[in-house]
């Protein structure tokens, strides 16, 4: 491994960010696009080179991929506890490097077309570079604190990019919401880190994940409310991960985050940043698996499975195409979490872990493709809403084909990428629990259904009243689409089980034919229903909606989670905590201080009358005082 190469990968986007950020007014928009793309292309090449080196050049030891770590102390807490900064290269970080680089590069290229003519063109590329830098840092982190640091930085870049259209009220609200919800989740994450730091005296991933290390060996030594403190820490850390990965019930920010420009949604809110939570759990997988018999991991499983189901149901009724994709993302992330949760550790046992990473990889490709395709559509019709679209396949052939490929992939149709990874997940779930497997299959069906509802709704059906005839997007936008579509087709054939596994040793994966057949069948069923409902204009869908009136209402309002959060934030915290405190401060605390001052004035006003101004009164008081004192002294001294 070449350290300089590795450091250059995040350093280049950072430099690009600084250059574009500081000289934003002096750089021409065209130049800034070129700088951004060129910088990222270099990083991407370096990432690919690193991956090639890691997987195919560096020797395995005893059939196990070695972890390469290089770090330096960033700050000391105590004599033993410190935060390091460094790079850690192991199969999952290399895989993430590829994902981040590929999608980011595609999004950079695509944005040159999509954002053309926008006021903040340079600013946009600066933010994208900042994000990419932070994401690389997150991926390469060597310890919990480093990952937290970059975790926050990706959070802020996400905030900046969601709020990119900063004059739009909804965008501001969405940006704030995203930041605050994830910040709340990070509060748990941070406490989890502190607990781990205190009880194990290290933040280092290698030590924490070491079966002979302080965390895994001694988890039983201290407990809190019936669970090991380490388990608590893991649950809290998972809370951070759930916030970033939009797991139920911290998912509310993700649909709103679609207010950002579409390339941003593709990069951050579909392919890279939102998988950080999955990555975090995968990163700490040995700990999750071995501490307290995987109690925390069970929570991950159920939260993941529930989120997958929950989001898939909501996705059916949404009419904003980006929101459908957002809920789809949430659903697929739940899938990945679920896969991690049902995974074992050694050899073929670890198929869930492998499947999760595999799905992360393939999902990044086809979900980015879906978003970029949706962006292309939005670019053409200037609306996000499904009812403003229809019959677009004639006008936008490239977008149509690529979108179809992605939709087939996510529906799990062989031999596209989604089929392979989803199949592995179902295999893992099947071997763990029938219940989870059932949810998985059901969600797969729903996924196929809502995705094709979207596809048919956009590209088939009747033409709408378009202001001007829609046209295919420029080459800068279609080339990324084509590249991603090709990747979606071939990504499934990457031999993941030999490269990225929990024990890093690799195993022989084989297709479980009956399970695969069931999955494909369910997917086909979903597509079939979508075809009946939405291929041609008909009233079947609306009839169903009226038949299941209340259910429809609940799902289309996303089960009122936004309202609940708004109630908690606005009514409880803002009106019933912050407002009384502000009032208390003004009236009681300040009032007390004020009262002391005012009382002093009042008392002095009363006693100042004694100072009558009559010199004779003074003399009288003086003489009287002398006489009294004299008497007192005489009395004292005589006794």
């Amino acid at each position: 491994m070449n350290l300089i190469n590795l450091l250059l990968i995040p350093a280049i986007p950072l430099v690009v960010f600084l250059v574009l950020g500081i000289f934003s007014h002096k750089i021409k928009p065209a130049a800034s696009g070129v700088i951004g793309v060129a910088g990222l292309a270099t990083s991407t090449l370096l990432s690919y080179y690193t991956a090639w080196q890691y997987f195919f050049v560096t020797e395995k030891v005893n059939g196990v991929y070695q972890t390469f770590v290089e770090k330096t102390v960033w700050i000391n807490f105590t004599d033993t506890l410190h935060i390091d900064m460094g790079v850690l290269v192991d199969p999952i970080s290399v895989m993430m490097l590829i994902v981040v680089s590929t999608v980011s590069l595609m999004v950079h290229i695509y944005s040159r077309g999509y954002m053309k003519g926008d006021d903040g063109y340079t600013r946009f590329f600066a933010y994208l570079s900042l994000f990419t830098f932070s994401m690389y840092g997150l991926v390469l982190a060597t310890n919990l604190f480093q990952i937290y640091i970059f975790w926050e930085l990706v959070g802020v870049s996400s905030f900046l990019l969601i709020g990119y259209y900063y004059t739009k009220t909804s965008a501001i609200a969405a940006a704030k919401k995203a930041f605050i919800v994830t910040r709340f989740a990070d509060f748990g994450f941070l406490i989890g880190i502190f607990i781990i730091g205190f009880y194990t005296n290290t933040f280092d991933f290698q030590l924490l994940n070491d079966p002979q290390g302080p965390a895994i060996l001694t988890w039983a030594s201290s407990s809190f409310m019936g669970l090991s403190v380490i388990t608590w820490a893991l649950i809290l850390i998972f809370m951070g991960g759930a916030g970033k990965s939009a797991m139920f019930p911290l998912h509310v920010w993700l649909p709103d985050a679609m207010e950002g420009p579409t390339p941003v949604s593709a990069l951050i809110h579909a392919a890279t940043m939102v998988v950080a939570g999955v990555y975090l759990v995968a990163r700490l997988f040995p700990m999750f698996y071995m501490v307290e018999d995987g109690f925390a991991l069970q929570i991950v499983t159920y939260v993941g499975a529930f989120s997958a189901l929950f989001a898939a149901i909501i996705a059916i009724t949404q009419t904003d195409i980006k929101r459908v994709l957002a809920f789809s993302t949430m659903s697929q992330l739940g899938y990945m979490m679920m896969a991690l949760g049902v995974s074992g550790f050694d050899g073929h046992e670890g198929v869930g872990y492998m499947a999760s990473m595999f799905h992360l990889f393939t999902h990044a490709m086809f979900k980015a493709l879906l978003f970029l395709g949706a962006g292309s559509v939005i670019h053409a019709v200037h609306s996000n809403l499904l009812q403003d679209m229809g019959g677009l396949r004639k006008y936008m052939p490239v977008t149509n084909i690529t979108f179809l490929i992605a939709a087939l992939a996510i529906a799990g149709v062989p031999p596209l990428a989604g089929f392979w990874s989803k199949d592995e997940i179902l295999v893992a779930a099947y071997s763990n629990s029938q219940f989870i497997y059932g949810i998985g299959v059901f969600v797969a069906g729903l996924t196929a259904f809502y995705m094709f509802r979207l596809y048919f709704g956009i590209f088939w059906g009747k033409d709408r009243q378009y202001k001007h005839t829609p046209h295919e997007s420029p080459a800068s936008m279609t080339i990324p689409l084509i590249v991603l579509a090709v990747l979606t087709m071939v990504a499934g054939f990457v031999p993941f089980s030999e490269l990225v596994t929990a024990d890093k040793a690799g195993f022989e994966a084989h297709l479980n034919l009956p399970l695969a057949a069931i999955a494909v069948g369910v997917g086909a069923l979903g597509i079939f229903f979508a075809w009946i409902f939405y291929k041609k204009e008909n009233d079947l869908a609306s009839r169903f909606a009226t038949a299941f009136g209340s259910l429809y209402k609940w799902t289309s309002h996303k089960f009122y989670f936004d309202e609940i959060y708004l109630f908690v934030a606005r009514t409880i915290f803002f009106k019933n905590v912050a407002a009384p405190i502000a009032k208390f401060d003004k009236k009681i605390v300040d009032g007390t201080m004020e009262g002391i001052g005012n009382q002093t004035v009042v008392i002095s006003g009363k006693i100042k009358g004694w100072q009558s101004g009559r010199v004779q009164d003074y003399a009288f008081a003086f003489i009287g005082g002398v006489v009294i004192l004299a008497l007192v002294f005489i009395y004292i001294f005589n006794n």
């Binding site: 640091i149 502190f194 405190i581 401060d585």
Partner: protein, 495 residues
């Protein structure tokens, strides 16, 4: 001339020079040169300190001791360790930035700069003295000009605010005086002479009863200046009325005297009292941390928001000091530094916004990102620093504080710590609220489209403050080590 006394002499010379200036132009040039010299000697002190520290492992370096008032054994005793060096550096930077921000001061510029520099000299003196009495004298020198600065050059309800601030701080220093005299009269407990010298008192075992009695007095005396809940109410009003540079200097530097004094006097000299009382003050500090954050959530005046944010952040300083371990103390000092730079930057920006739009009410502002992009972008950066984003100094400080607080393994400390940590969420909310309402969104007022662009002196002032924030945030190791090794004798004294 020894290297520390320069910090008292240079301001005096600057003041003398200012007396002979004729108008704003001359006054600001003289002040700027004075500020640059102070920054120069502060940087020189830093390097001299590193050189000296390599060969000398005394607690305080560059010590000097002159008898001042023999009957009571009062000395002009000075000396510095890493902590005071860091804080002196902070002071010199904020003073210089303050001069730049006041570049266009219209009324009585000469007198304004004189008062500003008197204040600065008091602060320098406080940081270098190791004699309690001298310390107290410098403390008063620093506090008194505040009255004039707010009362004369302030805005709004300035007489009221100035009076409130001065009275509360004077009340606190009366309490403090009792505490310090208490320490003084117990400094012969081991049979030596009565003394005000901190290093000598530290060797004495002050009887437990006396510590128990005088610790809260000393602590309270300093903590009022550090805006400890519930004695913080002077700070919102004071800041709101003060002119920009004064707010900067006050929140950035003067309020740091509180934390520094607690650390150097209350904690160091009365450790047993600190242990005895820590639970009580921890409750107050933790309450202050979350309380200040929530109170900031409801304000509409920018300066009030920032003042309550200061209550929250300085609550963390006292909170960390009471944790009685090295990590938390390191965090407390770092937080003092970081908050100093951040809040000074905030007040500078608020001053610039106010100077252009003539309002500080966030509900009347909107879309500033479009009309004054430079100031707005820096405001966002400062906000991010305030909410503890990694890469800025606040993150480093807060992580040290929380990690240190987590070292205390008991339910009470854990709960207090978690309450304090939860403030980071509320901080994010109030920072984003301001950013959302004031900077983003559509431009609310047509007149704002013609706002004046940022000038070079404003940019210089901002840069002076922004560079240390990012510097500490990106590479904290050197400053953390500088503080850490100076903490060693203190932590030994306490445990």
């Amino acid at each position: 001339m020894d290297i520390l006394t320069l910090f008292v002499v240079v301001p005096v010379l600057v003041i003398l020079a200012l007396i002979f200036t004729k108008d704003l132009k001359q006054a600001r040039i003289v002040s700027m040169i004075g500020g640059l010299i102070q920054l120069g000697i502060a940087i020189n002190l830093l390097f001299a300190y590193f050189r000296e520290r390599a060969v000398n492992d005394a607690v305080m370096l560059f010590t000097r001791d002159l008898v001042w008032f023999e009957q009571f054994n009062i000395h002009y005793a000075i000396g510095v360790d890493g902590i005071s060096v860091a804080l002196i550096l902070l002071t010199s930077i904020v003073v210089l930035a303050g001069v730049f921000i006041s570049w266009k001061m219209q009324d009585l510029p000469k007198e304004f700069f004189i008062a500003l520099i008197v204040l600065a000299s008091g602060v320098y003196g406080f940081f270098i003295s190791i004699d309690l009495f001298t310390m107290l004298v410098f403390y008063e020198i620093a506090v008194i000009p505040m009255y004039l600065l707010i009362g004369i050059w302030g805005s709004g309800n300035k007489e009221y605010s100035a009076m409130k601030l001065t009275l509360m701080l004077m009340g606190a220093s009366a309490v403090l005086m009792v505490g310090i005299l208490g320490i003084y009269f117990n400094s012969d407990a081991d049979g030596g002479a009565l003394t005000f010298n901190i290093l000598e008192i530290a060797q004495v075992n002050i009887p437990f009863e006396a510590q128990k009695l005088f610790f809260p007095l000393t602590f309270m005396g300093f903590a009022v200046l550090g805006a400890l809940f519930p004695f913080h109410t002077w700070s919102p009003d004071g800041h709101a009325s003060a002119p920009t540079a004064v707010s900067m200097l006050h929140a950035g530097v003067l309020m740091k005297l509180g934390g520094y004094g607690i650390f150097r006097v209350a904690m160091f000299l009365l450790p047993a009292g600190a242990l005895e009382w820590s639970w009580f003050f921890i409750i107050l500090s933790a309450t202050g941390v979350i309380y200040g954050a929530f109170a900031a959530l409801r304000q509409t005046d920018l300066k009030y928001i920032n003042a309550y944010a200061s209550v929250s952040h300085l609550g963390m300083v006292t909170f960390a000091l009471l944790m009685l371990n090295k990590t938390a103390w390191n965090g407390a000092i770092l937080q003092s530094l970081s908050h100093g730079f951040m809040t000074a930057l905030f007040f500078a920006l608020i001053g610039m916004i106010y100077g252009r739009t003539h309002t500080r009410d966030i509900t009347k502002l909107g879309g500033l990102l479009k009309v004054i992009p430079f100031i707005s972008v820096v405001y966002v950066i400062a906000g991010m620093a305030l909410l503890g984003l990694p890469g800025f100094s606040g993150f480093v400080a807060e992580m040290n504080i929380f990690m240190g607080a987590f070292q205390q393994d008991s339910m009470f400390y854990r709960i207090a710590t978690i309450v304090s940590i939860s403030a980071i969420v509320v901080t994010a909310v109030y920072v984003l609220r301001v950013v959302g309402i004031m900077l983003m969104g559509p431009v609310k007022n047509e007149a704002y489209n013609q706002l004046e662009a940022t000038t070079w002196f404003e940019k210089t002032g901002i840069a002076l403050l922004l560079i240390p924030i990012i510097g500490i945030g990106v590479a904290p190791l050197w400053i953390s080590n500088l503080i850490m090794e100076s903490l060693q004798p203190f932590i030994q004294g306490v445990l």
